[in-house]
Amino acid sequence: MSKVVEGLFYSPDHEWVKKLNEEEVLVGITDFAANELGSIVFVDIPEEGDSIKAGAEFGAVESVKAASDLVSPVTGEVIEMNDDLVGEPELVNEDAYGAWFVKVKLTNPEELDNLLSADEYKKLI
């Protein structure tokens, strides 16, 4: 059974969003997504200063077998990328909710209202 953490926002594309303050969020992929992919061997994530757009591809997470696009749940500017994942992508399998991909400064913080709650996401998977 895949873990879903209360208090996060979720996208139907299996990304989670954690609110740090009014403007900044962390983005990662859910435990369900990590399990579906199997052993993750590579992550391709945007760098500081890159813009990302809700609903658009912003990178990829790759298992041995296949690459899966990351679809951004939010719009904004990447203010930090998680370098640890580049060296140790297996962290995503070990702790999907600890292994954030990017820290994003939101263009429109109200956008979070469009995402799913933990309960809504649970029903989806």
Binding site: G38, V41, F42, G59, V64, A67, D69
Partner: protein, 367 residues
């Protein structure tokens, strides 16, 4: 829609919690635990694959040797009874119908082992070539189930679990063996670059062997690791390095053809012409110098020019470097040529290298 087929081991895969997907019309295990662990089991110890989906044809008749010579790229006449030969069947234009193993029982009987995805196409093609030959071809695919036991400890483990001593079975040879009431056809062949065996038998026998092997500690491996293993050994896969649009010369498989001999075979003239006019493209090895994963179909560039595409690529499980097989224009196929691969709109640098990603670990002594 046609319902997917199941091998006789399907229930075993379900029991082992395998991730199951359709492949070539069969519901096959892709991975049981994780691809890396299964891959490493084969490189370092011993693993096994359900390959019952593979196709088998029996070619029989007074002119069987003459017939096989004509449809098969590799030499067969001089081969001993009990030998296994890798080669291809070609269309007249030199492109590949399929690659296969030919088991020589004797001059009047051969067993063809073909790709699951090509069974129907191959069978109808082979049967169409029988005109004028005293030979019959039967598709016995549903009578043959198969397990591949692969890895450096395959021989020891088979001896321990089945009490069958395969020490004297040479590389690319086969024999008949008895296990309890079952008759097994075993060859020292595989698709991993490691020593190992392919065991053909009835559904009842294969089901029994599988359970003995699982209990005995042989790691069940899915199609996921089968692909990463064969790729590191640079063994071609139909639909990737070879296809009905690619010739053996382009795929770098000339060694498995008899184009330099007197013997004719279907497609030979086209290959000779292609050799004479010069190849336009060929399959090469590529290594990336920046970490990224080159996947099949990604385009390869030299400057602005698209010069080819990736046929198979991985972050190599054994070597932990991004490597690929790619079909490149001949002028860029030279080792050391710097190229770029377009991965999700980024250009990732790399270079052309040999395809010997990994030293093959075959037991070829005494062959």
């Amino acid at each position: 829609m046609q319902e997917n087929l199941k091998t006789c081991l399907y229930e075993e895969h379900v029991k082992l919690n395998a991730k199951i997907e359709e492949f070539a019309g069969f519901l096959m295990p892709i991975v049981y635990t994780n691809i890396k662990a299964e891959h490493n089991a084969v490189r370092e110890n011993v693993g096994m694959f359900d390959v019952s989906h593979m196709g088998e044809f029996i070619v029989r008749g007074e002119e069987a040797t003459k017939f096989v010579n004509n449809v098969f790229t590799n030499t067969i006449e001089e081969k001993a009874n009990g030998s296994v030969t890798y080669g291809m069947m070609l269309y007249e234009n030199g492109t590949i119908v399929d690659d296969l193993l030919v088991y020589k029982v004797n001059n009047e009987e051969y067993l063809f082992v073909v790709n699951a995805s090509n069974i129907a196409k191959d069978y109808s093609w082979v049967v169409n070539q029988t005109d004028g030959f005293d030979v019959t071809v039967s598709n016995v695919s549903s009578d043959y189930s198969e397990i591949a036991v692969q890895g450096p400890n395959a021989e020891v483990k088979v001896k321990e679990l089945l009490n069958l001593d395969l020490t004297d079975l040479k590389f690319f040879h086969f024999g008949s063996y008895e296990f309890q009431d079952h008759l097994l056809l075993i060859s020292r062949t595989g698709y991993t670059g490691e020593d190992g065996f392919e065991i053909y038998a009835s559904e009842a026998a294969i089901s029994e062997l599988w359970q003995i092997f699982v209990k005995g500690g042989i790691t069940p491996c899915g199609l996921g690791s089968r692909d990463t293993l064969r790729f590191e050994a640079a063994l071609p896969l139909y639909g990737h390095e070879i296809s009905n649009e690619i010739t053996p010369l382009e795929a770098g498989l000339k060694f498995f053809t008899k184009i330099d001999s007197e013997t004719d075979f279907i497609g030979k003239t086209a290959l000779i012409n292609q050799k004479a006019t010069g190849l336009k493209r060929r399959v090469v090895g590529i290594e990336l110098t920046k970490k990224a994963i080159p996947r099949a179909t990604y385009p390869v560039y030299k400057g602005e020019e698209e010069i080819g595409y990736i046929t198979t690529g991985y972050l190599s499980v054994t070597l932990n470097i991004p490597i690929a097989l790619a079909m490149l224009k001949k002028e860029y196929a030279k080792k050391g040529t710097e190229i770029e691969i377009k991965i999700r709109n980024k250009m990732i640098p790399g270079f052309v290298r040999d395809k010997k990603f990994l030293k093959k670990n075959y037991k070829t002594k005494g062959v």
